[in-house]
Every structure is written in C-alpha cells, then in structure tokens.
C-alpha cells in the first residue's frame, strides 16, 4: 500500500499541468481557490489519479476535499 508521501508526490505530478504556472504547490494549496481548477479540471484530475492507482474515487468524498492534503488523506483511506 502506498504511503502518504508517495500519494502526495503522485498528486503533485498530476496536478502540475493543471495548476496556474506561478502558483507554488503545497499541501495546503486549495484546488479551486489557489490553483484555479474548475469543476471539469477537478474531474479530469480524479480520472488521472484513479488510473494511476487503479482505484475508483466515489464522488461522495468531493465535498470533503478542499486542499491537496485533504485529497491525499482521502486517497490514503481508499488505498489502505
């Protein structure tokens, strides 16, 4: 099972092309407010992460995901 840091690294990798160029990525970065992702980009991001880890992320968890850290923690729960 992947560790939290491994999950975080993967999120950064997938997130980089989506995020605004001048915006530094960190655990506290908010996907919508800070990184400027719209709802469709969030959905595409989910699909890429799902494929990478071979999992399905229920959309029920989306309201609980605001930051990169929230996202990593949800993935950790699903993966473990």
């Amino acid at each position: 099972m992947p560790e939290y840091n491994e999950i975080l690294t993967e999120i950064y990798k997938v997130l980089t092309p989506f995020a605004k160029e001048d915006q530094p990525l960190g655990e506290e970065s908010e996907l919508v407010t800070d990184l400027g992702l719209d709802s469709m980009q969030v959905m595409r991001l989910l699909l890429e992460i799902e494929d990478h880890f071979d999992i399905s992320i229920p959309i029920n968890v989306l309201p609980d995901i605001r930051t990169v850290k929230d996202f990593a923690q949800q993935l950790e729960k699903i993966l473990n």
């Binding site: 719209d38 709802s39 469709m40 959905m43 699909l47 071979d54 999992i55 399905s56 992320i57 229920p58 959309i59 029920n60």
Partner: protein
C-alpha cells in the same frame, strides 16, 4: 448579504450576457403558434431547441383530451397521491406504460427530474454503489446525492472503463446499479448499450436506462435504445419523461421487478410532490397512443434530423459524433457561442445556448433539437441562418 455571496460569480456572468439585452437562459415565448413557431422579442421565430421531438404539443387529439379532463376532473390534484389519492387517470396511464413496455409495473411521477430523483435516491442506499456515466443528466446526479449510496463515475460511453470499475468493486458489484442514458441530451450521442448490458450481466449488477431523449425515437415500437439494440430483458429499470416526445410534463419508470411498487412508499420525491394534473395525464395517455399508432412521426423526425445534421456538416461545422434528433454545433469559445446564438435569434431561429460545465469537454454548444413537425422550409431557414453566422463562428469549422 453573506448568504448571497456565493452568487457573485454567477451575477457577473449574467450581467455580461445582459449587456446584449437578452438572457439566453430565460427566454420568453410571447405567443406560441405551433410546435415549431413562436414569437420571441416580437419576432416570429422557428423553435429548434424545445425537445418537441414528435411535435405533439399541438396535436388536436391531445389538446381535446387535455381540455376534457380539465372540465371533468378539475385543473389539479392539489397534492400527493399518498395524501390525496390516486386519480383513475394516473392508474390507467401506469397500466398503459407497463403494457407498452411489456413490463410488470410502472410508476408515474410529476416530472422526469423527479422520476430520476425518486428512483436513484430510493433504489440505491447505504452500502450500495451507483456507477453512472460521467455525462449523465443533472437529475441523475441529484438523485444520487439525495440517496446514501456510494457514487462512482465511469468515462462517458466507455464500456471498458465501466468494466474496470466493476472489477475494482469485487463482491460489491452485485450491489451496484449502473446508470446510463439512451441518447445523451447535450451532444445527441447514443450509449453503447449492448456492450453495457453484457458487462452488467457478467458482473450480476443492475441496470437503469434513462430513455428521456430516446422514447418515441429509437426502436421499432419507439420504446427507446434498449429496444433498438435488443437488450430490453437486461435493463432492470427504464426511466423516461412526458416532456419530450409526449409533449407534456411528467416522468415514469417501468420495471419487471415487483419491488418497484416500494418506491411509492419509500421514495420521498414521489411521496412529497403533488401528482400530475388530470389534463397532463389525459394528453399524455393520448400521446402514448399516437406514438404507437403513428410510426411515420418517428420516420419524419429522423429524416429531419439527418437533413439538418448533413447540411451543417457540409458547411463545415463541428457537430456531435452521430446523427440524432439532438444536433449540437460545437464552438470553442463562450463569447463566440453567445454571439452566434444571438445572431441566429435575430434571424428568427431559436436554439439552445449551452455553456460549460453543462456542455461536455468544456466546449460551448449551439444545441438544436429537431421535431417531426419541422417542415422542409423551416429546416432550410435554420440552415440558412447558420450559413450567415459571422467569421467568428466560421473559425470553429473543421473545413
């Protein structure tokens, strides 16, 4: 003002649109002449965006049935069936839907939106899984949200992705309701239902198909995509609406599962909504009769759809992936789409402006829906209006 803060972005977008003096999402039809013509902003306009597929809103028999029902039974039911009782017309229409689909039972709902809300929120609860096509209608998403099931999306019209997700679920696949549409409302593309039904069977899952845009359009008897591709026996629940081919307002679900009746006692959107008015039920019953008795309407509809699709393709527009009564012109840019939409309206043609996220893939759409009632002259006028769109629209053309 705090509770209104969330609307600020929306208001800014709307204010931008209103600079042109018109809100494309709040059009008024000042006078309605027929299934295909109305006055908009004082101008006689061809309606090419109203989902009136068979053109039955002005059918004389439907109108007469509706008027008679209002005179004999009153204008409304004034409440839910659980509280106020079932009118004989509700029960009769349910029997007629069940007979039409060769199914054991049917339930009538007050709108198509409510049909999906009731079915999805009630059928799948905590511990169950809903696997839905990512491009599903908002009513499907909202129904999922109202229930307690785990909700997972699969890539639009991608049976391989569906299969992958069922595999990931393991034993839970047998507690999984797959949800797809027959024809998708925005691009008019058709689900690969034969493949989806085969996957459903192999995993022992359940399948609900929303035939809102395919009732009266696909299948030898007009029963929709499941009939067209010969998989009706593999579809557990068919949901549909009265508000397109049947020319009224309402929804339904048919199924062979006797437990369908439980929705009447457990489905909040069914229990806590006023039931359809007698006039609506009466016109719908008549429209369902006509839909079966006059297959030539379906033939005409497809002829009209092909005509528009081919003409717009020849002009170089990028359209939805296949011919269907929904003919969607894809444009890259929201401003460009709004300008083109305005231009069409000024030329007396009303289509739907669809902006992201309602339009898939982040594109903007000029969405046309064809009707059996459109005349060849009206289709020519629609095509002519598209042909005069300014260069801004032409930039999106593929040729």
């Amino acid at each position: 003002m705090a509770i209104f803060e969330k609307f600020r972005g929306l208001e800014e977008v709307r204010a931008g649109l209103m600079k042109a003096g018109i809100d494309p999402f709040n059009i008024t039809l000042e006078h309605i002449y027929s299934a295909t013509e109305a006055d908009i902003r004082g101008k006689r306009t061809i309606l090419a965006g109203t989902n009136n597929y068979l053109g039955l809103t002005f059918d004389p028999e439907c109108i007469e049935a509706s008027c008679t029902a209002a005179q004999e039974q009153g204008t409304g039911t004034t409440g839910s069936r659980m509280a106020n009782g079932t009118f004989a017309g509700h029960a009769a229409l349910e029997k007629e839907f069940a007979a039409y689909y060769n199914r054991r039972g049917a339930i009538v709902f007050s709108t198509g939106y409510i049909a999906n809300l009731a079915m999805l929120s009630t059928l799948a609860g905590p511990g169950d899984v809903i696997l839905l096509d990512a491009d599903s209608h908002a009513s499907i998403y909202d129904g999922c949200r109202l229930g307690g099931a785990e909700v997972v999306r699969f890539r639009h019209n991608d049976p391989e992705d569906l299969e992958k997700r069922l595999r990931r679920l393991g034993d839970r696949a047998s507690n999984t309701l797959i949800v797809v549409e027959g024809i998708y409302s925005m691009l008019g593309d058709i689900a690969p239902l034969a493949d989806i039904a085969a996957i459903k069977k192999s995993y022992g899952a359940w399948l609900l198909v929303d035939e809102a845009h395919s009732l009266g359009i696909l299948g030898d008897h007009g029963r929709g995509l499941a009939e067209e591709v010969g998989v009706e026996a593999d579809v557990d629940f068919v949901v549909g609406t009265f508000s397109k081919s049947l020319g009224a307002t309402g929804g339904y679900c048919v199924s062979d599962h006797p437990q369908l009746d439980a929705i009447r006692y457990a489905g909040r959107p069914y229990i806590f909504t006023a039931s359809p008015s007698p006039s609506v039920i009466a016109s719908t019953r008549k429209a369902l009769e006509i839909l079966q008795a006059r297959p030539e309407l379906r033939v005409q509809l497809w002829k009209n759809a092909r005509s528009l699709y081919e003409s717009l393709t020849d002009m170089g527009f990028t359209l939805g992936p296949q011919v269907s009564p929904v003919v969607a012109v894809r444009l890259e840019d929201k401003k460009q789409a709004f300008g083109a939409w305005m231009q069409l309206l000024e030329q007396g043609v009303y289509v739907n402006l669809v902006l992201p996220p309602a339009a898939p893939d982040g594109s903007a759409l000029l969405r046309c829906s064809m009707s059996a009632a459109h005349t060849p002259e009206q289709i020519d006028r629609i095509v002519e209006a598209f042909s005069t769109l300014p260069n801004t629209a032409a930039t999106s053309r593929t040729a």
